[in-house]
Amino acid sequence: MKSIKELEAIRERALKEIAIRDNENKTRIVVGMATCGIAAGARPVMNAFIEELNKRGINTVNVTMTGCVGVCRFEPIAEVIEPNGEKTTYVKLDAEKARRIVAEHIVNGRPVLEFTIGAAEK
């Protein structure tokens, strides 16, 4: 293993950077990661969310996975759940769309309406 000693240095650095406690007032991005989601390409979508958030240094958002959301034909699906409980469901995602959601919804606070389930069902 790459030496567990390296972790000591990482630990020091991380302790300095901790500004916000985990899970408090955080926006959550939940990606559907059941068989249907995985087969439709949910893993690169989740990766893109994490990478884009890290690139922008945003640490007020948790990215997690969940099981089947129930509308498999719309996979890959991700839900953005804001601290006030407001939920936006995005469907038929790919990595590029995920990056746009971070830029427009998370950073600028404007949901990307064209990717939402409401737009897809019309």
Binding site: M1, K2, I4, E6, L7, E8, I10, R11, R13, A14, L15, I18, D22, M33, A34, T35, C36, I38, A39, R43, M46, N47, I50, N54, N59, N62, V63, T64, M65, G67, C68, G70
Partner: protein, 187 residues
Amino acid sequence: MRDLSLHILDIAQNAIAAKADLITISLTAEGRPAVLKVVISDNGRGMDPDFLEKVTDPFTTSRKTRQVGLGIPLLKQSAELAGGVFNIKSVVNEGTEVSATFPVDSVDRIPAGNVDDTLVMLIASHPEIDWEIRFASEDQQFEFSLADIKKALQGVSITNKHVQEWIQNTLSEGFRSVFGGVLDEVN
């Protein structure tokens, strides 16, 4: 599923759903001709013999919303199409072990895919589980235990981005050092 790493991601969710707190994922390439074996085992709630018997049927599932469950049947299909063998063992309240073998040289073997991505994602979403990862080939071995890492971190979260990066690099290096030259898609 396009590759083995996606199957692993899928099957591991069953272990998570079974409320396991220890999940072991191992990948070994052994023998001549070489056979790649993936084993996912957990200490979750397990299945009773009746359910176990029909669990490879796509119309068997533990979910309540719908009577379809494709994760296990798809892995079985992938293994068997390549001339490999699928196996599942389970004991109620003790856990479940899913294994599948893939002859390395079969033209029908699905590629290993991005195994480190799968593992990092599983660990990041369920850091409370003690994940154990093992890679082994004839002459190389790699072991990774999240419990050891938690001990070393003392209070810093596994989901911290520097920690995540380290985990990703460690797993990806481990995977390449074990399977580079063994699986022709890994170099």
